[in-house]
Symmetry: C2
Subunit: 223 residues, 2 copies
DNA sequence: TTAATAATTTAGACAAACCTAATAATTATT
DNA sequence: AATAATTATTAGGTTTGTCTAAATTATTAA
């Protein structure tokens, strides 16, 4: 099925909103896409015809199985490009979203496959969000980067990604090591830096880059 | 000025057609873009309003100075992406055009600048076509890859790009060396291989990859 | 130099993707 | 339960980019 860029953007937005609400409403989707409720209704009718959503007028919508599959391929493309931009083109992690928002619409399974291989099949994007694989599955690793935790969440350090000397020195300095109990205090959106409490003892402030290299034992179950 | 994807495609197509005709006609442009003459006329009216072309009804059109500037940035994006796809993602040189046709429309000067840097500022794309720089200038080097020559054109070998042993062995085998006089006999579009006469003596058949590494002294003057 | 042919433009339609304003349905509040 | 507030849909438009068919202009050939 060939989808337009706008259709893809709508599908992806529904996917994201669904994680925090059972059915998505017209107003919320319009707000997220910076469009108007009337326009969303138009689009929902079309997506319903294409069987990508379950749409009950006045009662919101949710992705169909096929819609979810499509959403995951778009998310995959988006996050792989973000990873590429940061890892290869030296962009900062907070500069890449808008570009990925466009690059994600180049639909070529072969391109994405090659890009994935080239990047060494990364499991998380520069913001710490997981990158779905070709089949739409997320990493089964129970270790996730510290960056995906939100304020007030807790976790235990399971391992450090890079065995780079500087990284090691830094985490030592911050009293972090394998097994440390971490509690996120605050996330500064300006630079993505994180204030956290280590082993209920030390209050530390670390960069997002360092945080990406600290893997936390994943709480299996609902997110 | 913000241009749509379709507008960009039209501008670029005019640019290419202009190299073989003074003014471009409606029918030719329609054929190249796989659209209809009536649609081209519509678009030409709009591009005229945006002052990107000089359009005289019934007498064809040509790019304005500004139009040419725009065309060159699109060509630059196209060719840089092609280079990326071949050099980094292991695509074959004959598989990349369609993908670049889409990637070229991600308009971000910063992205293209970083990509260029990352790729080490290549001067020619995988087909041997020159990549314009940020200012729209082509390489001033008087050496161009053998691949940009057309059938029946002649040239003198100025140098070999890679000092790789295999490349050296191959060009020796084909009787090619610095100073050799080359005459292109035929280009096989299936694989891009080239039949040529060396020093008016040996008829040889070489791969496009090898041809890319053979630099020819450029005939300065009109193209 | 006129008639035939080819190229181009115009007229009129249509789908996609938006919009505003008006109307209707749902949900929350007294 | 009635009313108010919120949310969603419909009606009717607009712009972009395409199309087909008809009319017009330019070019070529008789
Ligand atoms: Mn997008
Ligand atoms: Mn991201
Ligand atoms: Mn190309
Ligand atoms: Mn294109």
């Amino acid at each position: 099925m060939k989808l337009s860029i706008s259709e893809e953007n709508h599908i992806k937005a529904i996917y994201h909103l669904q994680s925090s609400m059972e059915r998505v409403g017209t107003k919320d989707l319009a707000a997220r896409l910076k469009t108007k409720p009337a326009s969303v209704t138009d689009m929902m009718k079309r997506l319903k015809i294409k069987r990508l959503i379950d749409y009950k007028p006045y009662y919101g919508f949710k992705l169909s199985a096929e819609g979810k599959r499509v959403a995951l391929t778009i998310v995959r493309r988006h996050r792989l490009w973000e990873y590429f931009l940061v890892e290869k083109l030296q962009f900062d992690w907070d500069e890449v979203h808008e570009l990925a928002e466009e690059l994600e619409h180049v639909r070529s399974p072969l391109l994405i496959e090659r890009l994935d291989t080239y990047l060494n099949r990364p499991k998380f994007d520069p913001h710490g969000d997981p990158i779905p694989d070709r089949e739409g599955n997320f990493s089964q690793e129970d270790a996730v980067p510290l960056t995906i935790l939100k304020a007030n969440q807790k976790g235990k350090v399971s391992r450090i990604t890079k065995n780079n000397k500087e990284v090691i020195d830094l985490i030592m300095l911050k009293h972090i090591r394998k097994g440390s109990r971490i509690e996120i205090k605050r996330i500064f959106t300006i630079d993505g830096s994180i204030e956290l409490k280590v082993d209920n003892k030390y209050v530390e402030h670390i960069s997002p880059l360092l945080a990406q290299n600290i893997l936390i034992e994943h709480e299996n179950g609902k997110k």
